[in-house]
């Protein structure tokens, strides 16, 4: 994993923390639905927070494709490019 990728992971991870009420350990493979067990309202708040942090828009279509933290990091990197 290169350095920017590692940084992006850390940045995303810090965005997850306030929503990670169960204290689930965050890895590339952590699933938003299966591990974090977020409901649709939490997802909505989290997405808004990520969008504002990185100054991007993640459409609902893109959100539907994102299941794991790693996939979100990829999407954030791509959208920021």
């Amino acid at each position: 994993m290169n350095e920017t990728r590692a940084n992006a992971f850390e940045e995303v991870k810090s965005q997850i923390e306030p929503f990670n009420q169960k204290g689930v350990p965050i890895t590339e493979e952590t699933s938003f639905q299966d591990d974090l067990e977020w409901d649709s309202l939490t997802v909505m708040d989290f997405v808004a927070a990520v969008e504002d942090e990185f100054d991007i828009v993640i459409t609902m279509n893109q959100q539907a494709e994102i299941e794991t933290v790693g996939q979100l990091v990829d999407a954030v990197q791509e959208l920021r490019a």
Binding site: L41, E51, V57
Partner: protein
């Protein structure tokens, strides 16, 4: 001879196959529902009206019940002129059209209701759909296709979301009624992309209104087209009853207004009005318009009569607002929590602590003879359980007093108020 088990539709044969049961995904919801019903609660989603006596009264479970959970805002369902128009059309044109608007399903009555809408909204074009759901589904999916953006409020009605999915548009949500959140998202979208901003005048879960006077000019600055769903405002917002956009002085900047006949108009059907001449072409390419039968002649006749009467319904309008304000204040004084500080529309949402309290309160009200809507997540925002009350211009002041007395009794019995 075929054995019974070999019939193709016999579920017994499928049981040997190991594919996933398609009903399985509903299992958690089914269980939650069964737990609720097992606790002895009456099913809030299985009410039957055995008799309907007026826009405000029906018989439910053999009991005289005041209706405070219909969208019959202007009380047009029993208007004598409306009923007469429907009966006449039934006699003259029959019970149904048996055809699409673009084939054999356009009668003079469909043209007449579109004319009434054009006059009501002072707009050049009107397109009538079989329901409001289909109007949103059709217009949004046809205008915004793959590669276009729809920017919508997170609390939007299901028909708006479904329109985005059907058209395969890029869909971007902003926080409910949050102007800054909308602005940020508009700024981040590609400049050259086609954009449709979708707003509602009144949001039906909390009964709050949108800051259209800020949002619409903002959308226009970013080159977006604007669609406003005025389902819950027609007839009593704005000088001519055209909705929240009229009331806030921005209706001239709206590209498309979506509305329904199933609320203030008092029948069923949906529509889009616009000043864009090219709207007419949509009739040929909008699948939820083209590939379904048109409304029955009696329905369009009742709708046209009702819409024309709503143009001159100043007294009813004033009484509806008075009812809403009185009920809001009365409920507050009793100690209930309401979703809005003031009565912003004809919908008042009473917030409750949890599902159990909401259901017990709902049932107690029904047993006292009052029907309201129970609403729960995901239909409601931020996980709230609420009882939604919608007022009618035909509720008398005495009925509002009765309603308050029933809320007081039910609230004390269930502990919802002290």
């Amino acid at each position: 001879m075929t054995e019974p088990g070999n019939q193709p539709d016999d579920p017994g044969e499928q049981a040997t196959v190991t594919s996933r049961n398609l009903f399985d995904k509903f299992e958690p919801l089914m269980q939650e529902r069964n737990r609720l019903l097992d606790s002895g609660i009456r099913d809030p989603f299985a009410i039957v009206m055995d008799e309907v006596k007026s826009p405000t009264e029906a018989i439910i479970d053999g009991r005289n019940t005041i209706l405070l959970g219909t969208y019959n805002y202007m009380g047009m369902t029993f208007d004598p002129d409306v009923i007469a128009a429907g009966k006449d059309a039934l006699d003259r044109f029959g019970s149904g059209t048996t055809g699409s608007r673009v084939l054999n399903g356009t009668y003079c009555g469909h043209m007449e209701v579109e004319q009434a809408l054009k006059e009501f909204y002072a707009m050049d074009h009107a397109m009538v759909f079989s329901t409001g759901y289909q109007a949103n589904l059709g217009i949004i999916s046809t205008l915004a296709g793959k590669g276009d953006y729809v920017i919508l409020d997170a609390d939007s009605h299901a028909s708006i979301y479904d329109g985005c999915f059907l058209g395969n548009a890029e869909t971007v949500r902003f926080r409910h009624n949050n102007v800054e959140n909308l602005a940020k998202r508009l700024e981040r979208l590609p400049r050259e992309a086609g954009k449709l901003v979708v707003l509602e005048g009144v949001y039906s879960m909390l009964g709050d209104i949108a800051p259209l006077d800020e949002m619409i000019p903002l959308a226009k600055q970013h080159g977006a087209m604007v669609l406003v769903d005025e389902a819950h405002s027609m007839g009593f917002f704005g000088e001519n009853g055209r909705g929240v956009a009229e009331a806030q002085g921005v209706i001239d900047q709206v590209d498309f207004i979506i509305g329904t006949f199933s609320k203030s108009v008092g029948t069923v059907g949906g529509f889009c009005v616009s000043n864009h001449a090219k709207t007419e072409f949509l009739r040929l390419v909008c699948r939820p318009y083209t590939f379904t039968a048109s409304l029955p002649p009696s329905v369009v006749a009742t709708a046209a009569t009702s819409i024309r009467k709503l143009m001159h319904a100043g007294d009813k309008r004033a009484h509806l607002w008075e009812n809403s304000k009185r009920l809001h204040k009365g409920l507050r004084d009793l100690g209930f929590r309401l979703a809005t500080d003031e009565a912003e529309s004809a919908i008042l949402a009473v917030l409750l602590d949890d599902q159990e309290q909401a259901v017990r309160m709902w049932q107690a009200l029904l047993e006292h003879g009052l029907y309201v809507n129970m609403a729960r997540p995901p239909a409601t925002p931020s996980g709230v359980y609420l009882l939604r009350c919608s007022l009618c211009a035909e509720h008398s002041s005495e009925q509002v007093d009765e309603i308050l007395a029933m809320f007081e009794a039910a609230g004390r019995a269930t502990g919802a108020i002290g």
